[in-house]
Amino acid sequence: MGCIACAALVLDGAGVTLTRRESSSIPVEADSLCPDRFVGLGPTEIAALPVFYGRRKVELGDLFEVEGAGADNVIVSGDLKAVKKIGQGMSMGRLTVTGDVGPHLGAYMSGGEIVVQGDAGDWVGAHMSGGRIVVQGDAGHFVGAAYSGETRGVRGGTIIVGGNAGREVGARMRRGLIVVLGDTGEFAGAGMLAGSVFVGGRLGGRPGAGMKRGTIVAFGEAPELLPTFRYACSYRPVFLRCYLQSLEASGLIESPGLSDGEFRRYVGDMNSGGRGEVLVRDQSQ
């Protein structure tokens, strides 16, 4: 589909820098690692914020070297693959992760921006309601999905994954936009209530299963759809051009030539009212 431009990464300037002291596979629950929690705090106070290291309650400063102050720009570095919930609930500021990061990144986020220069774990942006998450590498399963047992998930905001994502991208999504430039696993958009999921690479099997409304767009390969989806027409969706125009204007995605495409429109899931849609790019055009 294109590539993430991500030109606006701010690594210089005032802000807080947290650097993991050492690698470890012991899970860290770091929901205090969030710009909102850093407002008005200096490095000593930030270092005193609580985190769980395995089952032990420790302080951020025990695991991270903390420098600087200022909640608007937070940079996190080091081995973060086992660090969960970074940016959870954030509503402001910019959080940059300079490598890979663990699961539940930006869950329940309502504003601000998170940029990950590497890969992210499962549950990126779960239940987010605003703001933007950009993962330059791959993401795990359940990107922008609702947690198990929840009937409604993401209510707003934008998630962009530069690489591949796992299964159930945007499951039970209510509003917002998720863009995966690479491939997705199965069940993208499962149970969608509304919102939009764009997939640049190969769309995994059984997309939109149980979707009530909402839009899944396959810019690359698409599987055979479930039998509860019906072909409607081939056409050039104008609304899609608005999205691509907006993404291009944001500088996040370069997507030449997509705007003029013809798409085959499938409506479904007929098991759930049939008001959702899967648009599949006509590759012969």
Partner: protein
């Protein structure tokens, strides 16, 4: 004051506060976008008999349309927000939505809004869909050529209507040439439109009539064929008068349009440039011709 031998009278145009809106109309190509925009702004020469005053304009340099397709701006001016909503509903519904390949977006960043797409959506008979993008709600109304995309609400601002100037000339040919040159120059001013046919008024009016129940009548002091029958405002050698009326989204837009138009209209055969006013006590905005040309 004279420009190219043309006298600029020491007078002013008197203009009024109105409400203005700006639509971006797009299409598969510029022709279809223009077709839709011109249909929507047709029969909108004067607030008196048409409900609004409207016209089309090119997009500002570098301005992109929301869907990236070719587009045209359509500006609409009327007396109240309520009337604006009614006018936009009618015009977008009957003339833009009906035009092949069209889409219609809000082209004005304004805090006050009127609901247009949010009402037209019902044409979709329950199959309409909406998308929320960058804080703007777009409606997708199913139609026979695919979908009509229309924004939920359109911004309205307090605007200016009734900027004007008169071109007196020795012949109709000279007056027409001046008027056409003026309109061409004024079309380049963003945020301003000339609502009359071709941007030009040939039947300027006065706010009185000998007939009971009629409030306006032909501007007889400026009608060359009546010289000798009643008091004339024309000088010897003046055989035709054309007027240009301009509405704008701001006082500055009207001023710039008038300045550009007057400067372009000072051509051979034109004797003087004047303007219409009501003594200055009715309209909130006064555009003194000589001040405009001095800027």
């Amino acid at each position: 004051m004279h420009i190219n031998g043309v006298e600029i009278e020491d007078t002013f145009a008197e203009a009024f506060g109105m409400w203005g809106s700006r639509l971006i109309v797009t299409g598969d190509d510029l022709g279809w976008a223009r077709t839709a925009a011109e249909a929507a702004t047709g029969f909108a020469t004067s607030i008196i008999g048409c409900g609004c005053e409207a016209g089309t304009n090119d997009l500002a340099p570098g301005e992109l349309t929301p869907d990236g397709r070719p587009g045209v701006a359509a500006l609409v001016f009327t007396t109240s927000r309520k009337n604006m909503e009614a006018q936009l509903l009618q015009r977008v519904g009957q003339a833009v939505m009906t035009a092949a390949t069209s889409a219609c977006y809000d082209g004005l960043a304004a805090e006050e809004k009127v609901k247009v797409g949010g009402k037209l959506r019902y044409f979709g008979d329950g199959f309409q869909r909406s998308k929320l993008l960058d804080g703007r709600r777009l409606w997708r109304v199913p139609v026979m050529d695919g979908e009509f995309v229309v924004e939920e609400s359109f911004g309205v601002v307090q605007a200016v209507g009734g900027g004007n100037f008169f071109m007196m000339a020795g012949s109709l040919t000279a007056a027409l040439a001046a008027a056409q040159a003026a309109v061409a120059a004024m079309r380049a001013v963003p945020g301003a439109i000339m609502p009359f046919p071709g941007g030009v008024v040939r039947s300027g009016s006065k706010v009185s009539s000998r007939y009971k129940g009629q409030h306006v009548s032909s501007n007889t002091p400026y009608c060359p064929t009546l010289r000798g029958q009643e008091d004339s405002a024309l000088r010897e050698g003046e055989n035709a008068v054309l007027e240009i009326v301009v509405d704008g989204l701001s006082e500055a837009a009207v001023a710039e349009a008038m300045r550009a138009g007057i400067a372009a209209a000072c051509l051979p055969g034109v004797t003087r440039i004047s303007a219409g006013n009501y003594g200055g006590s009715l309209g909130q905005f006064h555009f003194a011709l000589r001040e405009l040309l001095n800027t």
